[in-house]
């Protein structure tokens, strides 16, 4: 298949703005476009795509929007054929998106339709078709090469800095959706999680609690610390599985992958699946009563004590510090 070096990037929007999760993929897209000697196209699908197009255009790329009945929800069955068709029309060499729940769901289906090889959860670019990505819960960094003409890639959000707008705005074009066939799939409902706190994947500071918190109500003290620090709250799988806290708080291999400036792990042992989700944090603090807990092997600062003892003092000390900073 003839390809033109173009990078086609699926970006997501909330209201009239791009989702912050999509911005690291734009950074990836710019570099991939430079390596392939082509341009960057940002693709917006679904209701509000044209309203968010102006924001997308500030990133200096060409913007394509697709709207229409049947595209209200990101169904892989309806979205993937549109992405694949536009990729062919544009002669795209690379088709990519951030590895959000939508990106992870839709992109492999796009790869199937384009008969392309795919690199998942890319953390680095080593060449036009060569990428770095973690395997085995982050115990290995692999360099993989995609041999097909078109390369499909999902991008790990925490591995690329968010893109900033550039001076010149790109052109915006509406593209027809074409025939839509959901193949027997349908959206039924969404119960949206709403929280006044920043999203886990965007937060500069994260406080996470584990099984050692014992009861859901004990997370109140972590929430107090979190809000004092203006951060987001996370949890281990043991805490979410036990129903102490909502499951979308889970950090790890199968939860959110985060890389904040400061990660405070409280009563979390540090299983590899948990570490896989937070090892990239700049500074890690562990508070655990067991001096042998594996979390101390990755923690920059470890405090061996119970949360019952540490947290009230920690909150008081942070308050003192904040007061002094005013």
């Amino acid at each position: 298949m003839e390809t033109s070096g173009t990078v086609l990037l699926l970006v997501e929007h909330v209201g009239d703005h791009l989702r912050t999760a999509s911005l690291p993929a734009i950074t990836f897209g710019r570099e991939a476009a430079a390596r392939h000697g082509g341009g960057l196209i940002l693709l917006l699908i679904g209701p509000g795509a044209s309203a968010a197009a102006a924001d997308a255009a500030t990133y200096g790329a060409q913007v394509l929007t697709v709207e229409g009945p049947g595209l209200e929800h990101p169904l892989a069955e309806t979205w993937a054929p549109i992405i694949a068709r536009i990729a062919r029309e544009q002669g795209a060499s690379v088709v990519a998106a951030t590895a959000t729940s939508t990106g992870k769901d839709v992109l492999p289906r796009v790869a199937a339709l384009l008969d392309a090889g795919m690199a998942s959860d890319v953390t680095g670019i080593a060449g036009p078709r060569t990428f770095q990505r973690p395997m085995q819960a982050g115990n290995i960094i692999a360099r993989i090469e995609v041999a097909t003409a078109i390369v499909v890639a999902s991008v790990r959000q925490t591995a690329f800095p968010p893109a900033h707008p550039v001076g010149a705005a790109g052109a915006i074009t509406a593209v027809a959706a074409g025939p839509i066939d959901p193949r027997g799939a349908a959206f039924v409902s969404l119960s949206a999680s709403d929280s006044a706190r920043p999203e886990l994947t965007d937060a500069k500071i994260i406080v996470s609690g584990g099984r050692g918190m014992r009861e859901g109500k004990n997370f109140k003290i972590l929430e107090e610390l979190t809000d004092l620090l203006g951060g987001a709250i996370g949890a281990s799988r043991a805490a979410t599985d036990a129903g102490l806290v909502p499951s979308d708080w889970q950090v790890g291999q199968t939860g959110k992958v985060v890389a904040p400036e400061l990660y405070i792990a409280v009563a979390i042992s540090g299983a590899i699946q948990h570490l896989a989700g937070m090892k990239g944090s700049k500074v890690i603090v562990a508070i655990n009563k067991d001096p042998e807990a594996p979390i101390f092997q990755v923690a920059d600062y470890g405090l061996v004590t119970t949360w019952e003892v540490a947290l009230p003092t920690l909150i008081a000390e942070v308050k003192k510090l904040k007061a002094a900073q005013l």
Binding site: R109, A112, M118, I141, A147, R183, L190, G302
Partner: protein
């Protein structure tokens, strides 16, 4: 309902990774079933039994793997849990990519004609998170990835799949036949509603253990064998691992003696407060 479940063997995630120069040293590796696939087997069993009537079987569960002959061990474990039969597609497990696996699964689907293909959402070693979506894409079937719960609806013609997505919890309807990939929460006590087992029934948390009776029965259950070359002739890898390395290690941290010292260090030394 007839269900095809895929199962991959992976190095035990709890075992420390051993290096031999620039490659992994897999000697002495303890191979285990990929956990998400074990959850998929459990899901398939819950979908095809009436737990309110002594776990009476109601459907068929076929477990398939692509890997070396040794994987029959992991297949036997799935049979001991209660799966009805197994298929071993002989192929080395270090010379596969997601596309090749998916093409082989598609061939098995054409042979077996299941109503549902159940897979793990991700293999704990390669962590590709691709095969289920690829299979659905090649077959042009509906897909529901990252399932945290499943309810059989429309007299067994469709599923409502609970999916944990970034913006919340979604319910997606897929008409059968379909591909579903399962996430952790699928093995929660009440995650599966098959329309036969009483809706109030709560399973024990997690995949079931094989009973002694199950282990004995598994010895007699068939494992059919075929080869990757027979299913997907002349295929070349599209995604190759060209090198691997250890991740940069974090420098050893310090233990602090008190909360006051911690806050002082975070403020003055790490400058994050």
């Amino acid at each position: 309902m007839k269900i095809l479940v895929t199962l991959k063997r992976v190095p035990d995630p709890e075992q420390k990774v051993k290096w031999k120069g620039n490659a992994l040293d897999l000697s002495g590796t303890n191979w285990v079933p990929n956990q998400f696939d074990e959850y998929a087997v459990e899901t398939a069993l819950r979908l095809t039994e009436n737990a309110s009537a002594g776990n009476a079987r109601d459907g068929e569960v076929v477990v398939a793997t692509i890997g070396p002959k040794d994987v029959s061990q992991q297949l036997r474990s799935a049979l001991a849990m209660g799966a009805d039969r197994a298929i071993l597609v002989d192929g080395s497990d270090d010379n596969l990519d997601a596309e090749l696996v998916a093409r082989a699964v598609v061939k098995l689907v054409e042979q077996e004609k299941p109503d549902l293909v159940l897979m793990g959402k991700l293999a704990a070693d390669s962590e590709d998170n691709q095969v289920g979506q690829l299979v659905a894409g090649y077959l042009n079937w509906p897909q529901a990835t990252f399932a945290a719960g499943i309810a059989v609806v429309d007299d067994g013609k469709a599923l409502h799949v609970i999916r944990e997505v970034d913006s919340g919890v979604e319910i997606k309807r897929v008409a059968l036949p379909a591909v579903v990939t399962v996430d952790l929460r699928i093995i929660a006590p009440q995650a599966i509603k098959n329309g036969k087992t009483a809706a109030t029934h709560a399973y024990a948390d997690g995949p079931r253990y094989a009973s002694l009776k199950g282990i004995m029965a598994a010895k007699k259950k068939p494992i059919a064998e075929t080869t990757l070359a027979a299913l997907v002739p002349g295929s070349a890898l599209r995604v190759k691992t060209v090198a691997i390395e250890a991740p940069p290690s974090r420098k050893a941290g310090v233990k602090v003696g008190s909360v006051e010292e911690l806050v002082q260090k975070l403020h003055n030394e790490a400058k994050v407060l």
